[in-house]
């Protein structure tokens, strides 16, 4: 398994993903957005950051990158694509996932740990984890997922909600919702299930030293071919 990690101007999670994949024993390469040729890869990550300073709207300028067409092609061909934080904003702007991400209701950037419940296991990133609670860091100012009522209904009806913010007791309450997202939606998937976007940062929690390792639930399958590496992590 070889994973492409896209880097745009202003991306900052690409090195964190690269490190996480090193820890997990996943082959990976950081790929400059203008040179992105995803055919060499088995999966792709669109990481977090502030591409183009998040000016105008987070992800808006990045969607003009040539990488967007490449991502669309790869997505259509069924490549697993994980978009986290700013990456989620980019793929929503590019129309690869439904909805949009706007300013957090508190209008503040928020860095914290959140808990999410896996709502769909029809994606490689959540396979076998339906109903599980995952604890992961967030760090964003525009992570409030919104959509018009029709889109929201479709997303809910078709089971495209991949992850939902929940509180300490596992309920999708306002207390569990860090940014005001509609329906406590933390992550969504495309109908095929190969593209998943989420605001939290799985790459920040693959080592217990950093406070948690639930990111392994989401990224670990990429290491399938290198399972032994997983056992060395603790």
């Amino acid at each position: 398994m070889r994973v492409a990690i896209l880097r745009y101007p202003g991306t900052w999670s690409e090195r964190d993903f690269a490190h996480a994949f090193s820890v997990l024993g996943v082959e990976h390469e950081i790929v400059w957005h203008e040179d992105a040729d995803l055919r060499r890869f088995d999966a792709a990550v669109v990481p977090g950051g502030f591409t183009y300073g998040d000016y105008l709207r987070a992800g808006a300028i990045a969607k003009l990158s040539p990488a967007t067409a490449e991502l669309r092609r790869a997505a259509d061909e069924g490549m697993p694509i994980l978009a986290s934080c700013n990456g989620f904003q980019i793929v929503c702007e590019a129309g690869l996932l439904p909805g949009a991400l706007v300013r957090n209701t508190g209008l503040e950037f928020r860095c914290d740990w959140v808990t999410m419940r896996v709502e769909s296991d029809a994606t490689p990133f959540t396979a076998g984890a339906l109903g599980e609670l995952l604890r992961m860091p967030i760090a964003h100012g525009e992570g409030c997922w919104v959509a018009d009522p029709r889109t929201l209904a479709r997303v809910e009806d078709e089971g495209l909600v991949a992850l939902r913010y929940v509180d300490a007791r596992g309920s999708a309450t306002p207390e569990g919702n860090p940014n005001g997202s509609l329906g406590n939606i933390a992550g969504v998937r495309n109908p095929q299930g190969n593209v998943v976007g989420l605001m939290p940062h799985p790459e920040r929690c693959v080592e217990p030293l950093l406070g948690g390792s639930d990111g392994i639930r989401m990224l670990g399958w990429l290491a399938a071919s290198a399972r032994p590496a997983l056992s060395t992590i603790s």
């Binding site: 105008l56 300028i61 439904p98 949009a100 706007v102 209701t105 209008l107 919104v146 005001g180």
Partner: protein, 80 residues
């Protein structure tokens, strides 16, 4: 020829506008009787185009392809 286009971008009515909600709250705390607040953007672009008609088309394209996100926003163009 040189043109100035002002592109107004506003959140769609049915989409939540957290910033507007927060501003409404802040204005109420100033003692004002606020029904609601919607926040938008106003982007002033100075550019050149061959003629007015194509300037109008280009300004439209700016809104379409970049300045507004059709999922949540509407835009209108004013060509000066």
């Amino acid at each position: 020829m040189n043109f100035t286009a002002t592109i107004h971008v506003r959140p769609k009515d049915e989409v939540r506008d957290p910033q507007g909600e927060a501003v409404a709250g802040a204005l109420r705390s100033l003692g004002l009787d606020i029904a609601d607040v919607r926040t938008g953007k106003e982007i002033v672009v100075r550019f050149s185009a061959v003629d007015r008609a194509s300037a109008a088309r280009e300004a439209e394209r700016m809104g379409d392809q970049l300045l507004a996100n059709p999922v949540i926003e509407d835009f209108s163009v004013e060509l000066g």
